[in-house]
């Protein structure tokens, strides 16, 4: 397995899905089961490979890139094909391949109209390549390409299989299909951010020429950042801001979040799951992997802004949830709040905070993914998502209701379940932000974030009361509902188990991340904290 260790394993994980998708093109559309089995095989093999990476990963050296490959690619601009994983990206890579498998299991007998499993599965596989690739890319060009690859399949998923209803958009004359509006909004929003992000990348590329050769290589750039090369760069703040726009749209941070409720609500179930579980993490991962190590000084200047926006997102998202009438939209808005905690963790620029954000990402992926699965299954059965019409779900479908209650509890951050650690440690990190950041501001953010957890509990209990509890409304009397079927159970039970395991044994994630995060923060800030102490004015 030498070739695997030397990096081609990672390439296999990245490109196997897209190769599988190409092969699936050759299978006739009518042979649905063949397409399904083939795609499932590809997804399972990819997941298996990522497990091999996880178990072969040397936790003692989690701060180093392992399974690394670095070969020249576009030599004209010095872009290399450089991939590798470290402790930060490993949990996210495994999560990504894992959720893809679960999404395939779930969609085994859930097909949205117009029914076309082949096309849908091919899009999912392409999405898999994009997601996996983003998490292992160590070259800005490569990162950018994978980052953009995920847009296309998601655009088609929402646009073709999304919500069929019509909607009046203020300012436009005619009604238009919700799914088209949502997909276009999603696409344009993300593209708008990425354009700025690319500008930022190019600025870094040209600037790095002053320090021994222009490069797109992320570790090299991070080394420049650690050495303080970019510290006196006049436009560093602007460059960070450009990257911030690109990543913040994806996270999404308030006020750039408005694409998210529409896209999540309109997307088909599996699309929402992948969007919530993986795609949102690309943004926050970008902050940790690129923006902060490369431009630590600028990150410090921007940190208060990020913290304030995160806190606004937490409070705002929770309050907006309280006003929702649509289950799926409520879950979508809850993502704004939860990702606010993730970003608050990042904004503290400390070991604690960034660890919090990674475990927060993993937990949010598991929990909100499961919530979207459940919302999809409920919509499948009731054909409505209006909470006023639902009620007594626990009586009609005890298992579905029980799992919904469990997931809601996990989502509101109940200690002992995965969601707790992300929230708690983000607050913990905000107590003691990096030296030089305003303690008063971050502690204020901590208090506001803690109040946000109350609001989170409020809307989750509100949702449970409306949907799960009480007597079923008369509309459903006499209906036969089939409780959770075995495909759904197969897709959900692993998520439930993981939520409990991470809740009681967060070391599953921390074990991989902590050394890498400590190394990253030390590199970024230890050097300049002695060199430019008077500048930072702590």
């Amino acid at each position: 397995m030498d070739w695997f260790e030397n990096g081609w394993g990672l390439s296999l994980i990245v490109f196997l899905p897209i190769l599988g998708a190409l092969a699936a093109l050759a299978i006739p559309k009518e042979r649905e089961s063949t397409v399904k089995q083939w795609s499932m095989l590809v997804a399972v093999v990819t997941f298996g490979l990522s497990l091999i990476v996880a178990f072969g990963f040397d936790l003692g050296a989690a701060e180093q890139y392992q399974f690394e490959t670095n070969v020249p690619w576009i030599s004209a601009i010095g872009a290399n094909y450089h991939v590798g994983v470290d402790g930060i990206s490993l949990p996210l890579l495994v999560l990504s391949t894992f959720i893809l498998v679960l999404a395939m299991i779930y969609s085994w007998n859930h097909w949205e109209e117009p029914r076309n499993p082949k096309a849908f599965l091919i899009l999912m596989l392409i999405l898999g390549t994009g997601m996996n690739g983003t998490f292992v890319a160590l070259d800005l060009v490569l990162f950018f390409i994978f980052f953009e690859v995920v847009l296309l399949p998601m655009y088609f998923m929402i646009g073709i299989w999304g919500d069929k209803s019509m909607r009046q958009i203020p300012g436009f004359g005619k009604e238009m299909p919700t799914r088209l509006y949502a997909s276009i909004k999603f696409f344009l929003f993300t593209l708008f951010g990425s354009a700025f992000m690319l500008l930022g990348f190019l600025a870094l590329y040209f600037k790095s020429g002053e320090f021994g050769g222009r490069t797109f290589d992320i570790p090299t750039l991070a080394a420049h950042g650690a050495a303080g090369d970019f510290a006196s760069w006049g436009i560093a703040g602007l460059v960070f801001g450009a990257m911030f726009l690109g990543f913040a749209v994806k996270v999404p941070m308030w006020p750039l979040h408005t694409w998210l409720p529409d896209a999540h609500t309109a997307a088909p179930t599996v699309g929402s799951v992948l969007l919530a579980a993986i795609l949102l993490k690309l943004g926050s991962y970008g902050f940790i992997r690129i923006a902060i190590p490369v431009l630590p000084e600028a990150a410090k200047d921007w940190a208060p802004t990020i913290a304030i926006l995160s806190v606004i997102g937490i409070i705002y998202g929770s309050l907006a949830c309280l006003a929702q009438t649509d289950v799926k939209r409520l879950i979508a808005f809850s993502s704004v709040g939860h990702m606010g905690f993730v970003m608050l963790g990042i904004a503290t620029l400390t070991d604690v905070g960034i660890n919090a954000s990674i475990i927060g990402m993993v937990a949010h992926g598991l929990i909100t993914g499961l919530l979207f699965f459940l919302a999809g299954s409920m919509h499948h059965r009731y054909h409505t998502r209006e909470m006023s019409r639902l009620g007594g779900n626990l009586k009609l479908m005890p298992r579905l209701g029980a799992i919904l209650s469990f997931t809601a509890m996990a989502s509101l951050g109940l200690p002992g379940l995965a969601g707790f650690w992300g929230e708690f440690m983000a607050l913990l990190g905000a107590f003691n932000p990096l030296d030089g950041l305003s303690v008063g501001l971050f502690r204020g953010a901590m208090v506001a974030g803690a109040i946000g957890t109350v609001l989170t509990a409020g809307y989750m209990l509100f949702m449970l009361q409306k949907v799960n509890l009480g007597e079923p409304s008369e509309e459903w009397v006499g209906h036969e509902f089939h409780d959770v079927d075995r495909y759904e159970m197969t897709a959900w039970v692993p998520l439930i188990i993981l939520i409990v395991v991470i809740g009681f044994y967060p070391k599953v994630v921390f074990g991989a991340t902590t050394d890498a995060v400590v190394n990253m923060v030390d590199n970024a800030y230890a050097v300049d904290s002695t060199a430019s102490l008077d500048v930072s004015g702590s």
Binding site: S438, V439, G440, L441, R443, G444, V447
Partner: protein
């Protein structure tokens, strides 16, 4: 003084909390469509400002506000509300709706002018008296010493108001009613 330095003093968190409560109550006093609610929110606003006075170390005045305003004046109001038979439920006709925009503009302008002038006048001046309550003795000496005449005058005004109130509000009974009452 920068905002974060200001914020790092926990007393200011207390201030923020109380101030927010006061303003919230104040808003509800003038917007509530239920007269009893409005009166009760006035209690909240007054209690909050009493708390602010405590922060400013004016203990005696703060407790006076609590006793006189919350204790006595509000009761008077509730009586007034009951006697005038104001509906104690939501009453949509409580506000002059057409006046709202004008009133809002005037109120905002008031706020803007007042804030501007006080910013102009005081800037970042710190509150001198923190945790050093004014002794009641000082107030007593002031009231019964230098200000004894105004004090008496005010007392007289209060008396006059009392008598005037009784005179005004007393119902002159018709002879028939007078008789009726006498019989009972």
């Amino acid at each position: 003084m920068t905002f974060d330095v200001w914020l790092s003093d926990p007393v200011n968190w207390v201030y923020l909390a109380i101030g927010a409560a006061v303003l919230l109550c104040g808003v509800r006093v003038v917007t509530s469509q239920n007269v009893v609610h409005a009166a009760l929110f006035l209690v909240g606003a007054l209690a909050g400002s009493a708390a602010l006075m405590l922060l400013l170390s004016a203990e005696f005045v703060a407790w006076t506000v609590v006793l006189v305003y919350i204790g006595a004046v509000i009761v008077l109001f509730l009586f007034g509300i009951m006697i005038t038979r104001a509906p104690v439920v939501r009453d949509v006709g409580l506000d002059n709706k057409k006046a709202r925009p004008v009133a809002a503009v005037v109120a905002l302008a008031t706020f803007a002018v007042l804030t501007y002038t006080s910013l102009l006048a005081f800037g970042n001046t710190e509150v001198a008296r923190v945790g050093d309550p004014t002794p009641t003795e000082t107030l007593a000496e002031g009231l019964l010493g230098r200000f004894v005449l105004p004090f008496e005058v005010v007392g007289f005004i209060l008396l006059a108001a009392l008598i005037g109130g009784i005179t005004l509000a007393r119902r002159d009974l018709s002879p028939a009613e007078e008789e009726e009452r006498g019989a009972v």
